[in-house]
């Protein structure tokens, strides 16, 4: 049996707890994502996809239920410990790439390593250079993020997400605002890295074409998992 990179048990998330407008967004999810799995998270707007991604990304805390990342339960961890776990295990690709505009492409890719080690190391720089080459941005290393096109920025974002070789990549509509050709390229890159490095990917997408190319599709409807998306049964 493959170890689970993500494991959810009865995960609930409510907003506005204790106020008259308290709303539960996720109604008790049970879900496992295996190490190295390439998985699409689909569902209509407002179904709780982004919330689920934020919970799994340890950016938000669940209201109740169990969440384990890479076998480590996150219940009771303080902010410091969550930050460390997030930095070590998870790479993010956001919808609007979210690069640091004042930094160059290379610096953006090196940033997770700089954060982890405190300073930029020569090793981080060579890793970042390789990654930029892989995403086809040779020659753009020293351009400011704000000077790159949308597709180029998203490539930098993917390179950045991969810079620490995380075991889990969370992508929130990584191709959301790109044209079809660019979107295909970006998706192909994710797939390539998934195969090559074994990083598990959880990709939120609206594009059924792309979702169809994933190994597995998880569908969220009104904060519940659709029937087809049950966790894979252990043999």
């Amino acid at each position: 049996m493959t170890a689970a990179i993500i494991s959810l048990r009865g995960l609930r998330k409510s907003y506005g707890v204790g106020t008259p407008v308290e709303t539960e967004v996720l109604h008790g999810l049970d879900l496992d994502l295996a190490e190295g799995e390439f998985c699409a998270l689909i569902g209509p707007s407002g179904s709780g996809k982004s919330t689920l991604l934020n919970l799994v990304g340890l950016l938000e805390a669940p209201t109740s239920g169990e969440l384990a990342i890479a076998g480590q339960s996150t219940t009771g961890l303080d902010e410091q410990a969550l930050t460390v776990l997030r930095g070590r295990t998870i790479g993010f690709v956001f919808q609007f790439h979210h690069l640091l505009p004042a930094f160059t492409a290379l610096e953006n890719v090196m940033m997770p390593s700089i954060i982890m080690h405190g300073v930029a190391t020569a090793e981080a720089e060579s890793v970042a250079n390789d990654l930029l080459k892989r995403v086809g941005l040779t020659g753009h290393e020293y351009k400011k993020a704000s000077q790159l096109s949308g597709g180029q920025q998203q490539r930098v974002a993917i390179a950045r997400a991969l810079s620490l070789s995380p075991r889990l990549i969370l992508a929130d509509e990584p191709t959301g605002n790109l044209d079809t050709q660019t979107a295909d390229d970006i998706f192909a890159l994710l797939r390539e890295f998934n195969r090559e490095r074994g990083s598990a990917c959880l990709i939120v997408t609206h594009d059924p074409r792309l979702a169809a190319r994933c190994d597995r599709r998880i569908e969220l409807i009104d904060g519940r998992l659709a029937a087809a998306a049950r966790m894979p049964q252990p043999a």
């Binding site: 993010f92 690069l99 640091l100 930029a120 720089e125």
Partner: protein, 407 residues
């Protein structure tokens, strides 16, 4: 690539500051101005005060020991008798056992020099001109450590022997005499002597240049009818502001009248103190304004940078380090502002010292910068930067990364 590898906090802080060019420039300007005002003002006031004190003490002993004043006492102590006690006229008297008092004064801590002085009224006469003067009999070797007479001499040396005398340039002019001439001196008591002028001095005070006539102690004693006595004992202390304390201790130990320059010039001292208080007030206001400036710019910066803060948090930056980034921005602004502020103050001091000159054309103050003032100003600016950044930094640290990224 040979690029300096900055620690994470520095890298981000510097880039944030560079990115907000206009804001950074404005706040640096503010800190520079504030530090410059503080340094310039402190330097100016401390120099002016030093000059004033220097002038006052240039011709005055720090501490003077005099005999007790003579007072009339009631002959009968019976309170039933009404009595009017007339104040008594004070005659010139010697300090009792003055050699012992000199030794006592010399043994006091923080006393640098002690000089017995024989001083009293006299007339300087030449032809039909007669001028009222103060006869000052001194031991030059001791007295030059009380008043720096050597630096005031315009002709001859500060040295007296026999019937030699040293007079001020104004008296010399009034009487039409010079070095080598004779001067007839008659003490108020009627004794007289023909003196030989061996030197001229200019203390920088016309009144004193007209009044002081230095002779040997022996000559003054015989002219003033104080055989073997001295009228007062002058004392120099190491730190001029210790004078009052030394005077009080000496008075308790000797039982004589002991006055410090601080008592004699209490009005001047009060004026200097008021000046220092207003200087401190201005400094405090400037510090508060600079702190508010840094704070407000950083608060705006936190709002502007919330997306970046969210991204950094998502990539594994702890909230403490985000706080560090903003504290560092405050410290950097404070530090750089302090450097340029000190430079600006230096420029201002140079500029104004050439513009403002006293009557004789000499600059009122020297373009000097006390390293202690510069350093403390820089230290304060750094601290103010840090404190001012505290609120924005905490705000940045508390920011919810999810909200920050969505914004």
């Amino acid at each position: 690539m040979a690029r300096p590898r900055l620690p994470f906090e520095f890298l981000i802080a510097l880039r944030f500051l560079r990115e907000g060019r206009m804001q950074t420039a404005l706040i640096l300007l503010g800190v520079t101005g504030g530090v410059a005002v503080i340094v310039f003002l402190s330097q100016l006031i401390s120099q002016l005060q030093a000059t004033i004190i220097d002038r006052v003490l240039g011709s005055q002993a720090h501490v003077v020991v005099r005999p007790l004043e003579e007072a009339n006492q009631r002959a009968r102590t019976d309170p039933q008798f009404a009595t009017i006690i007339e104040p008594r006229a004070q005659r010139l008297r010697s300090v009792d056992q003055w050699e012992a008092v000199v030794r006592l004064a010399e043994s006091q801590p923080r006393v640098v020099a002690v000089s017995p002085v024989v001083s009293g009224p006299a007339f300087a006469v030449r032809g039909r001109a007669s001028k009222s003067v103060a006869l000052v009999g001194v031991d030059p070797d001791r007295y030059r450590r009380i008043v720096k007479m050597d630096t005031y001499m315009t002709r001859g040396a500060f040295q007296v022997e026999g019937t030699g005398a040293i007079i001020g340039i104004e008296l010399a002019k009034d009487l039409g005499v010079g070095v080598g001439d004779k001067l007839f001196l008659r003490a108020a008591g009627g004794r007289d002597e023909l003196l030989h002028i061996t030197g001229l001095f200019d203390i920088g005070n016309k009144d004193l240049n007209r009044r002081w006539v230095f002779t040997t102690m022996k000559l003054a004693q015989s002219l003033l009818d104080l055989p073997g006595g001295v009228s007062n004992i002058d004392v120099t202390v190491a730190d001029i502001f210790d004078a009052k304390e030394v005077a009080e201790r000496l008075q308790a130990a000797s039982g004589l009248t002991v006055e410090s320059w601080m008592t004699t010039n209490s009005q001047l001292l009060a004026a200097l103190r008021n000046q220092s208080v207003s200087n401190n007030l201005i400094r405090s206001f400037v510090i508060v304004i600079v702190a508010l400036g840094i704070s407000s710019v950083l608060v705006v910066s936190v709002v502007q940078k919330q997306k970046e803060i969210g991204i950094l948090r998502a990539m594994g930056t702890s909230s403490n380090r985000i706080m560090g980034v903003f504290l560092l921005q405050g410290a950097l602004v404070g530090f750089v502002g302090a450097l340029s502020g000190v430079a600006l103050a230096w420029g201002l001091l140079n500029f104004f010292s050439t513009i403002y000159r006293s009557g004789d054309g000499a600059p009122i103050f020297q373009p000097e910068l006390d390293p202690a003032i510069a350093l403390s100003a820089a230290g304060i600016a750094l601290l103010v930067g840090l404190v001012a950044a505290l609120i924005p930094a905490r705000r940045a640290a508390k920011m919810d990364p999810v909200q920050a990224i969505r914004a």
